[in-house]
Amino acid sequence: MTVPLGAALAMLAVGFVGVLAGRNLLKTLVGIELTSKAALVIFAATDAASQGIVVLLILVDAIVVAVVMAMAVAVYRQYDTLDLDAMGAMSW
């Protein structure tokens, strides 16, 4: 369990840094996807009975990717860029 757990937490950390540091909305999406896979690794490593959960989680991830990409289209139409700093969406 230690190795998968370590791998999962590493993916979580790398993805999280990607979300925090990335300026491009699509790079943010890559970071988000990396973090969400950490949960899949932990579920899959625990036992085989988790396969139903894993399949449903993949479905949920696909929906979230679709929503973020739709948002990216909306952002590009309004701002002509996907740069989050330029549009001021993530500054506070």
């Binding site: 973090t35 036992d47 948002m71």
Partner: protein
């Protein structure tokens, strides 16, 4: 626990309702009809919930062959009742706000309500997470609903990114619980499973608690995770803000408390929540003091109310007292009425103001005299705002009172200090609520003389919510009878874990 197929009723009605509403709305020029269908769906779901509430609880049901994914508890009935009630009112009110060609609006609203109901009825952490995602995805589309506005897109993007990351943290937390319990996620079986695992590895559970609080806490807008809230509530349609502030953010708190209640007492989850709650209400009130824009002021003022509820839940988890849960759940009920009413009233006022002058900034100064032109909306706003401030004979007072008394009872000197902080925050909030009331009834200038009264589709829900705010305030036992079984069940579950 009795099994019955009716237990999936409210959720089933709402999920079918999403499709039904979409089919109706997809026909040309049928948005208004879709609005009535959506509110009818919510009313039917509310009625089903009411029928369930009169039977013996908890009641279970199987979904798609997997046993016990849904269980009707007192807490679930409370959450589902609030969500479907506010959902129905929001659908009625939206009929007037909506322009043509927006056929996805009502299906999304019904889906959001279904997500909240699912959170209430979820029997295990994974079903809870799926319901939470349903609520979240619907709100991702509803917050930036006016995609033509630049600020709405920016607010929606920030809301989307923060909340997606929050959801991911929550599911990682749940996966850690799954690993620790050896494959158990059902709430009623988790307590013993986690106590057994406590001996060897305590740390992963503490990490899981933190991930769950932070993950669901983003949606609940716990400070410092609230950065998305002011812009999102300001830019979203007023009816959506009413739904988010009155129903969706408290639902995230219910998700937190349902998850934390199964952890062993050695993890100080109650203290963690109390800490977050104190910071949330204080920072929220201080931020709200500086706001001049009507809708933004209301947006900021939802943060302290989350704080009060979090303190109540934290005290309950810490001391296991029924009274604290009574207060927290009562405030969830009151918050739905007060915040729902206030945002709908602001929506009606801004609707009329922007009809008269499209560039109206919606600041407090531009409101002078609105109170005389739109008595129903202004009256509802006055009652809502006074109730939010915690003025005694209104709904907002009793929840706070229970929370204050419970925290003073549970933890000695520290508890009394905590109680005083809650009381001080209530007075602090008058600092921004009273100027709002004054500007509503200030002597108006001539330009507002042509302002029409509140549209009827909004006036009816406003009167309903306002009446309830007053009735629940004058007869607190009526609200108390609704929330007390849920609080008692929660406290019983906690003491069961401790033994």
């Amino acid at each position: 626990m009795t099994a019955s197929p009716l237990a999936v009723g409210p959720l089933g009605v709402l999920l079918v309702g999403v499709l039904l509403t979409y089919v109706v709305a997809a026909a040309p020029d049928q948005e208004t009809v879709a609005g009535w269908v959506a509110s009818l769906v919510c009313v039917v779901a509310f009625a089903t919930t009411a029928v369930l509430a009169t039977g013996s609880l908890p009641r279970t049901a199987s979904v798609l062959g997997s046993e016990g994914a849904v269980v009707v508890t007192h807490l679930g009935v409370l959450v589902a009742g609030i969500a479907t009630f506010v959902g129905a009112l929001v659908c009625v009110a939206s009929v007037r706000f909506l322009d043509a060609g927006q056929e996805t609006y009502y299906p999304l609203v019904v889906a959001l309500v279904a997500g909240v109901v699912g959170i209430g009825f979820a029997a295990d952490m994974f079903t809870l997470y799926l319901s939470f995602e349903l609520l979240a995805v619907a709100s991702y589309a509803l917050v930036p609903f006016r995609l033509g506005r630049e600020r709405a897109v920016a607010a929606g993007t920030r809301y989307l990114i923060m909340n997606v990351v929050g959801s991911v943290l929550a599911i990682v937390g749940i996966s850690l619980v799954y690993a620790q319990s050896g494959g158990v996620l059902a709430f009623d079986a988790l307590g013993p499973a986690l106590v057994a695992a406590e001996g060897q590895l305590v740390d992963p559970l503490a990490v899981a608690v933190l991930l769950l609080v932070v993950g669901f806490g983003v949606k609940a807008a716990i400070v410092p995770l609230h950065a998305w809230l002011p812009d999102a509530y300001t830019e979203a349609p007023a009816a959506v803000s009413a739904l988010l502030a009155g129903v969706a953010t408290p639902a995230a708190l219910v998700a937190i408390v349902k998850c934390l209640a199964v952890f062993p007492g050695s993890i100080p989850s109650g203290l963690l929540l109390v800490g977050f709650g104190v910071v949330t209400m204080t920072v929220g009130n201080l931020l709200a003091l500086r706001q001049r824009e009507l809708k933004r002021l209301l947006a900021y003022s939802s943060i302290p109310h989350i704080g009060y509820i979090v303190v109540g839940l934290g005290v309950g988890l810490y001391g296991g007292g029924v009274l604290a849960f009574d207060g927290a759940f009562f405030h969830i009920l009151a918050n739905a009425l007060m915040k729902g009413g206030a945002f709908l009233a602001v929506g009606a006022i801004l609707y009329r103001l922007r009809r008269a002058d499209p560039d109206n900034p919606g600041t407090m100064d531009s409101l002078a005299g609105v109170g005389y032109r739109m008595p129903i909306a202004a009256g509802a706003l006055v009652v809502g705002v006074l109730a939010l401030a915690g003025v005694p004979p209104l709904a907002g007072f009793w929840g706070k009172l229970f929370i204050v008394v419970a925290s003073a009872e549970v933890a000695g000197t520290a508890g009394i200090v905590l109680a005083l902080v809650v009381v001080a925050n209530s007075f602090l909030s008058l600092g921004y609520y009273l100027p709002l009331l004054r500007s509503l009834f200030a002597s108006g200038d001539e330009s507002l003389a042509t302002l029409g009264p509140s549209p009827r589709a909004i006036a009816v829900p406003l009167v309903a919510v306002t009446t309830l705010t007053i009735v629940v305030g004058l007869v607190p036992m009526s609200g108390f009878e609704i929330v007390h079984p849920a609080a008692e069940a929660m406290a019983d579950a906690l003491t069961g874990v401790g033994s």
